[in-house]
């Protein structure tokens, strides 16, 4: 086990020079597809995507177009008052699709709230993604139905859950992997650092997938880290890699490598996917107050979908038929998302008490019963009637 780890540090892991900055340039990144759409070789990583043929490239393209369409539709639904809030992933499609498509069904994802494209890869019902943001539920789906925990709002807390889950995988003698997603801001949290300590100590099969999208709401990544974030992991004894997060092929390759390491007893890995949050933090945010429009322009030139379309075109795969099919699918998904959102059943008032505990609880049962009586009182006879008097003992209770 230890020999493997040393090997990874010497061969597979890219250690970025310490004089680099947290938002270092592309030269230190693993990149298989340049921003201008040129497929380039990258040493050890080519072999991890050797099987990605034309149809596979087209599938990755379709995924990214569809999740961008979902994102746009959800943003529109928020602007139209159908959602209270939405956290857009615009610009981060490659990081999420590349890593998400590398996973096996029995792997388990613990993500933040922006990983809607990862949820898409896991096979989530699109409407379920919206349940939280419409206010109809505290989370959207049964985590065990797609092996992905529902979005975590407390920054970085999920990295510990993934690590613990991985420790459980280890105890079970299984070869699945826990993968946790978080942002550059989360790397300042104690929980993320503690998770790396535990993951290294137990050599747990967990992947720390950090999307460095450069902004934690209004705080630039330089406020979180003075060195590239990937450089921190080796200090914990965890091999790390810095990858172009807008390059779907490279994201697929580094995730596959890390998964293989975890499955074969090599322990945890850390991936920093360098990308950019093209939209606001959420629909409630206004990035024009804190960031330069030029920065947005620079990153628009590195768009993950545009570069893959150039590659597909060069391979003769960006045919009108293919584009039409992708467009149809994206529109279909968007239409289903919209319909599912608007037709979502309203929760019943008494649902507010459901699932606080898995077994009966005398305190809550009493409050529920009393509130039920209170609600029912609007439908019953006027106060002072016989039926009200007969239930008079309720006045001694507390609502």
């Amino acid at each position: 086990m230890i020999r493997w780890r040393v090997g990874a540090l010497n061969e597979g892991c890219v250690i970025v020079p310490l004089n680099d900055t947290a938002s270092a340039g592309e030269n230190s990144l693993i990149q298989l597809l340049t921003p201008s759409g040129v497929r380039q070789s990258s040493g050890d990583y080519d072999r991890w995507v050797a099987d990605v043929d034309g149809p596979a490239l087209q599938a990755l393209y379709e995924d990214m177009v569809v999740v961008r369409r979902i994102d746009a539709e959800a943003t529109a639904l928020q602007r139209q008052g159908e959602l209270a809030l939405w956290p857009p992933l615009l610009g981060q499609e490659a990081a999420q699709i590349g890593s998400g498509r590398a996973l096996r069904e029995d792997d388990f994802v613990f993500s933040s709230y922006r990983e809607n494209a990862v949820a898409y890869c896991r096979g989530v019902d699109f409407t379920d993604i919206l349940r939280v943001w419409r206010g109809n539920a505290s989370s959207g789906w049964d985590p065990f139905s797609i092996n992905m925990a529902t979005p975590q709002v407390i920054i970085g807390a999920q990295t510990l859950h993934a690590t613990g889950y991985a420790m459980g995988i280890q105890n079970d003698g299984a070869d699945s992997v826990a993968v946790t997603y978080f942002g550059d801001g989360a790397t300042s949290q104690g929980d993320v650092n503690e998770a790396m300590v535990f993951a290294a100590s137990y050599q747990a099969p967990v992947i720390f997938f950090c999307q460095n999208n450069h902004w934690a709401i209004s705080e630039p990544v330089g406020l979180q880290a003075h060195v590239p974030i990937a450089n921190r992991a080796p200090g914990f004894g965890i091999p790390s890699v810095r990858v172009d997060g807008n390059d779907v092929l490279a994201c697929l390759a580094v995730t596959r490598e890390a998964l293989d390491r975890a499955r074969t007893g090599g322990g945890p890995s850390f991936i920093e996917a360098v990308t950019y949050r093209m939209g606001p933090h959420t629909t409630a945010d206004d990035p024009t107050k804190y960031r330069d429009a030029n920065e947005l322009e620079d990153w628009a030139a590195k768009d993950p979908i545009a570069r893959l379309s150039v590659l597909l075109d060069s391979l003769g795969l960006l045919t009108p038929d293919f584009l039409a099919a992708v467009n149809t699918k994206a529109n279909d998904v968007a239409a289903r998302l919209r319909a599912g959102c608007i037709e979502m059943p309203e929760p019943a008032p008494m649902d507010v008490f459901k699932h606080v505990y898995s077994t009966p609880n005398s305190w809550l049962d009493r409050q529920q019963e009393n509130y039920g009586r209170y609600l029912a009182s609007f439908d019953s006879e006027p106060v002072g009637s016989e039926s009200q008097k007969s239930s008079g003992t309720a006045t001694e209770g507390s609502l």
């Binding site: 989370s139 690590t163 613990g164 889950y165 105890n171 929980d191 503690e194 609880n361 305190w363």
Partner: protein, 335 residues
């Protein structure tokens, strides 16, 4: 029946739970080779292996957060927090994750985590080793909170806590770890509920409610009161969330007087909740306003002053005198 110390009874209960369910694992600082700083897990790693009794790095939030992940994976983690005052780094994971995941996921994810906390004072320790933080957790929906006061309950309730599909905070009165008592190890878990309060001494003039470390003190106070001709009924809450108000209410309807005592600070504490709830439920039966005899609203003091802070037999009796309308330390003062 066998005689064992409080600490040994918890150990025996965990051992039995681990024998019955291979998914039960223990996590905490120094709980393996050392058997914990109080030796409560002594011998368990040796007998069940390092994969079931995990010595963890020193990070309470991570212990709790990884326990959450273990629970996702189908395990039933029993977490030891080394001392009451060390639980706060884990507070976020307990309150935001452990307590809420079942609600958040509409019942899909269960959190059968037991969090063992040695709590309370009286052992002459430095700061952060003698606290009573239970009210933070009784105020948090989604958690169950219990406190045990004798070896039999310690043995039975640790198993009930581990078997419970909801998260349970299990508060152990550390100053009573060495107290011995009879334990029936053949007891059926289903035959009792950890949520029931127990009347541990019967009386008909004053209801004295307490839990954990002060139960023996309260029983002594009841005996002392009877020497003065006052009949005190003592209730051991056992469950702090939810509280078995029906048992307290039945007692107060009989006695008409209520005294609550705990080591934790007074304001916003469990005593306030009990006084309010019982007043709501049976105001007309009360002969006197409920009285609280508690620790002060101070940080836990240095050890030479801790016995001024901790309610003792005489302070409890003073409270009994107040509800009885007898001469007491506050006689003649509107307080």
């Amino acid at each position: 029946m066998s005689t064992m110390t409080f600490g040994r009874a918890i150990n025996a209960g965990m051992r039995r739970a681990m024998e019955n369910d291979p998914k039960v694992i223990l996590m905490g600082e120094d709980i393996g080779k050392l058997g914990g700083v109080f030796r409560i897990t002594e011998g368990l790693q040796k007998d069940f292996g390092e994969h079931r009794v995990l010595d963890t790095p020193l990070a309470e939030s991570a212990i709790m957060g990884t326990a959450v992940g273990m629970a996702y994976r189908g395990y039933r983690p029993v977490v030891e927090i080394q001392f009451d005052g060390f639980i706060y780094p884990a507070f976020d994971q307990i309150v935001c994750q452990v307590a809420k995941l079942h609600y958040r996921t509409q019942g899909a994810v269960k959190m059968p985590i037991t969090i063992r906390v040695p709590f309370g004072g009286g052992i002459g320790s430095p700061e952060h080793h003698s606290e009573s933080p239970e009210a933070y957790f009784t105020h948090t929906s989604g958690l169950r909170v219990v406190s045990v006061s004798n070896p039999q309950d310690a043995y039975t309730m640790i198993q009930q806590a581990i078997a419970c599909d909801d998260p349970v905070l299990y508060f152990e009165p550390k100053r009573r770890y060495h107290v011995k008592g009879e334990v029936d190890e053949s007891i059926e878990l289903a035959a009792s509920s950890m949520e029931d309060a127990h009347v541990v001494a019967e009386g008909d003039e004053v209801t004295l409610v307490t839990y954990g470390p002060l139960v023996p003190t309260a029983r002594d106070a009841a005996i002392a009161a009877s020497d003065e001709g006052i009949s005190v009924e003592v209730i051991d809450l056992r469950s702090l969330a939810p509280i078995d108000f029906a048992t307290i209410e039945a007692s107060v309807r009989k006695t008409g007087r209520l005294v609550i005592t705990h080591e934790a600070a007074q304001s916003g504490g469990l005593g306030a909740e009990i006084a309010a709830s019982i007043t709501e439920r049976c105001f007309n039966y009360l002969e006197h306003a409920p009285v609280r005899v508690t620790g002060f609203d101070i940080p836990y003091p240095y050890s030479k002053l801790e016995f001024h802070h901790l309610p003792d037999l005489d302070r409890i009796l003073d409270g009994v005198d107040r509800v009885m309308g007898r001469t007491n330390s506050l006689s003649g003062i509107e307080r």
